[in-house]
């Protein structure tokens, strides 16, 4: 029998449908009988769904500004190298 503590470790694999068949069945059995673990798995699932709707944070605008400028410089230097190579 799996304990609640076991379920707490397996919950992500259960949500992601990543458990081997026998283990999957054991987890389902436990969840069928244990309201507390059902609540936990539901909440973890809600957590994952919430993360899916979030975008990863973007860098600060001042950083984006400077970095874009720097990268353009690099791109230009490569482009002029390429055009020199093409001429020869």
């Amino acid at each position: 029998m799996l304990s609640c503590k076991d379920i707490s470790k397996l919950a992500s694999d259960h949500i992601d449908n990543n458990l081997p068949p026998l283990m999957k069945m054991k987890v389902k059995m436990h969840l069928f009988m244990c309201k507390k673990c059902r609540e936990f798995v539901n909440q973890l699932n809600t957590t994952v769904e919430t993360l899916k709707s979030l975008k990863i944070p973007q860098p600060e605008e001042s950083f984006v500004e400077q970095q874009t400028k720097d990268l353009l410089e690099i791109a230009k230097s490569f482009n002029s190298d390429n055009s020199i190579n093409k001429k020869h």
Partner: protein, 206 residues
């Protein structure tokens, strides 16, 4: 600005189009930083990302579209980071991946027999939409992700926020699938805990 297709974005990057560069900096830079931190640690991650950008720009004409541009870029970051480690003859900073037995949910929430002693309480705010309508909670989640160990930060952002496959993530971070799954779970459990705490605080306010 969103791009209709990646070949258009790549073309504009090769042409040196400013808004294309702005777009990739906004959309890719933090992921690049997370991946670099996971492999070389925070101290030299910025440098590694800058080196990787140079490699990316140089290699753009050779991009064949066999993976998404972002995946391709992150592989370049990963390679730059690993090259850097080799140069300094250091081994990969696997972070807390060694400590695989640690629990994701704090042990004190369970009794000795493995049953809950402090079980999760029902959430009043129970849908992702309702949770995300709170700017305060969004901020808390972002801060928590920011404080996670770098490798967990990479995995949870690439997997749950960016929808990348676990296989791809393992390749980029050079870790095994079982390790990555444990780390993903631990990161998720951490976010679950802060949402739980937030819900509790809301109850106190009511």
């Amino acid at each position: 600005m969103e791009y209709q297709n990646e070949s258009e974005l790549v073309k504009q990057l090769i042409d040196g189009n400013e808004s294309a560069y702005r777009y990739v900096v906004q959309a890719y830079h933090n992921n690049m930083l997370y991946v670099a931190r996971s492999i070389v640690g925070s101290a030299i991650a910025d440098e590694v990302v800058q080196e990787a950008w140079v490699s990316v720009i140089k290699a753009l004409p050779k991009f064949e579209g066999r993976s998404s541009l972002k995946t391709w870029v992150l592989r370049i970051v990963s390679n730059s980071a690993k090259t850097r480690l080799r140069k300094e003859s250091r081994s990969i900073a696997v972070g807390d991946a060694n400590d695989m037995e640690a629990l994701s949910v704090p042990a004190e929430r369970f009794q000795d027999n493995g049953r809950w002693s402090a079980p999760p309480q029902q959430w009043n705010i129970s849908t992702p939409d309702d949770l995300l309508s709170s700017d305060e909670l969004k901020k808390i989640i972002y801060t928590t992700i920011d404080k996670l160990p770098p490798i967990q930060q990479s995995i949870i952002s690439l997997r749950d926020m960016e929808g990348m496959s676990m296989l791809e993530i393992c390749k980029i971070l050079d870790i095994t699938e079982s390790n990555s799954r444990v780390l993903l779970h631990r990161a998720r459990a951490k976010i679950w805990q802060v949402i739980e705490k937030y819900q509790g605080n809301q109850n106190v306010k009511l």
